[in-house]
């Protein structure tokens, strides 16, 4: 048979980097693969579907330490950052978290990120595969008065699922109870005696937390969290199927410099004051698209049958090619395949009947609203 995935990409010239939890994952039976230049766990012994369902029903612990954690500080920081992101920082109060986009001069997406105000600075979490380019872009475009710290000795764990709060709450202490953190809020806590910046956010559609903590303490804290009977480690494979069901785009697949935020359905990330005032990269194009719409749009697609369509699959409406799949796979929660695709605006309405090409086979599908599986955030 063809295309059996190979664990180690021997063709890659650069040696993959090792993260603080590397031996922790291996000791728990993880299958390690190279991802974003790092050795990362794609799954543990239970497998992707079991880990996916465990996260939806209990709580999964994800190591996402490959992501870039950046800290910006300095005089006139807000106006300097607003020149690069379409965010309104005047409305980002301490302890608030917001989703934003790093844009190029054409309004194309260089990266998507989470940003929060932490003490006198801004804390950013950017994608692992793009972090070096992001750092270069920020250093090039931010004035010298702004300090950029790459927190590269800091680990990032995500605890996701309906039991995440119950597992984390007994282990933390802070100025506020953990229950005071609602979705997209963050604060400093002590977690197992360690300083941790905890945000109520994630990439699964479930309630949960993202926990930034010193890399040297990560294994001990991961053990502490996994000692709870509702918590199991979950790999990148289930992280991808969970985020797809939640309709959350993946940079480098669903988002790229070739896609605009309006095409991608991310208009909520263009904050109100910025739409009126402009002054961010690509503002002319993006404000125009907000008014006039775009030729193509990101949509959710539900497939009939059980065969998946994957990234790159062509989308047809009748005989006409109308778009391309950017992410796709089997949905364990829905028990059928789903996909995200860019299609022509006239084929983007929910209910539109489509066909997806899978290596010459036409798979019946239709446009459906996203998320595919409802979000269950704690608001």
């Amino acid at each position: 048979m063809s295309d059996i995935p190979v664990d180690d990409d021997l063709d890659d010239a650069a040696e993959p980097l090792i993260l603080p939890l590397d031996s922790w994952h291996r000791a728990r039976g993880a299958r390690m693969v190279e991802f974003a230049g790092y050795q990362m766990p794609v799954q543990y012994a239970d497998g992707i579907i079991a880990e996916h369902q465990w996260t939806r029903e209990h709580a999964g612990l994800f190591d996402v330490s490959h992501m870039g954690q950046l800290y910006l500080s300095g005089e006139d920081m807000d106006s300097a950052v607003e020149a690069l992101l379409p965010i309104d920082l005047a409305t980002l109060n301490p302890g608030q978290v917001r989703y934003s986009l790093l844009l190029d001069e054409n309004g194309g997406i260089l990266d998507d990120l989470m940003i929060s105000r932490w003490e006198s600075g801004l804390y950013l979490v950017v994608n692992g595969a793009t972090k070096w380019d992001d750092i270069g872009h920020l250093r090039e475009h931010l004035p010298d008065e702004i300090t950029l710290n790459h927190l590269d000795e800091t680990a990032l764990l995500a605890l996701q699922g309906p039991m995440a709060f119950a597992a984390l709450e007994p282990l933390v202490s802070g100025d506020m109870p953990l229950s005071a953190l609602t979705f997209m809020r963050a604060a400093a806590f002590k977690l197992g005696g360690v300083d941790a910046w905890i945000s109520r956010s994630g990439y699964t559609g479930e309630d949960g937390f993202e926990i930034s903590l010193p890399g040297e303490d990560a294994a001990r804290i991961a053990d502490l969290l996994c000692a709870h009977p509702e918590v199991k480690p979950v790999g990148l494979g289930a992280r991808d199927s969970l985020r797809l069901e939640a309709g959350l785009p993946l940079y480098g697949h669903d988002l790229s410099p070739e896609t605009s935020p309006v095409e991608a359905g991310l208009t909520f990330a263009i904050n109100k004051r910025r739409r009126a005032e402009g002054g961010f990269p690509g503002a002319g194009r993006i404000v125009g698209e907000l008014a006039d719409g775009t030729d193509r749009k990101m949509v959710g697609v539900a497939l009939e049958g059980r065969m998946s369509a994957r990234e790159g699959a062509e989308v047809f409406a009748g005989a006409q090619a109308v778009g391309t799949v950017t992410s796709g796979g089997f949905s364990p929660s829905l028990n059928h395949p789903i996909a995200m695709a860019y299609v022509n605006a006239e084929s983007a309405a929910p209910g539109t009947v489509l066909e997806l090409d899978n290596r010459g086979r036409r798979l019946a599908a239709r446009v459906v609203p996203m998320p595919f599986v409802p979000h269950r955030y704690f608001r």
Binding site: M1, I49, S308, P337
Partner: protein, 123 residues
């Protein structure tokens, strides 16, 4: 009954002039959770090496090649409702299809269990 293996991780059990084909336990372990199996059409004529079946997992779709030439004599209908049989019972209940062999001499080019085990140990 004798069993042979291919370098592409198919197995074939020979009973008279009919072979039962599946993928190996090693292959299912590499693929991860299998979500769909497309079996070939009954009665179709196949040549050795033809891609005649597809195993779709949460990670990727993989072609299954026929280890021999012949005619498809049976397919495993149980996989329509339970594709995960290929994970849980790859080398027995998770068989994919049966072929009436047109050239049994093709079996000589395949591996036996000991050679296959040594082959995957080196991967």
């Amino acid at each position: 009954m004798s069993r042979y293996f291919t370098k592409d991780h198919e197995w074939i059990d020979i009973d008279g002039d009919v072979g039962t084909v599946g993928i190996t336990d090693y292959a299912q372990g590499q693929l991860g959770d299998i979500t769909f199996v497309e079996v070939p059409g009954m009665g179709s004529t196949v040549a050795k090496g033809d891609a005649i079946s597809v195993v779709d997992s949460v990670k990727a779709a993989s072609d299954v090649y026929s280890p021999v030439s012949g005619t498809v004599a049976d397919v495993n209908r149980a996989l329509e409702a339970q594709p995960e049989l290929v994970n849980s019972d790859a080398e027995l209940g998770g068989w994919l299809f049966r072929i009436a062999l047109s050239d049994p001499g093709e079996l000589d080019a395949l591996m036996d269990r000991a050679v296959y085990d040594a082959y995957i140990a080196g991967l």
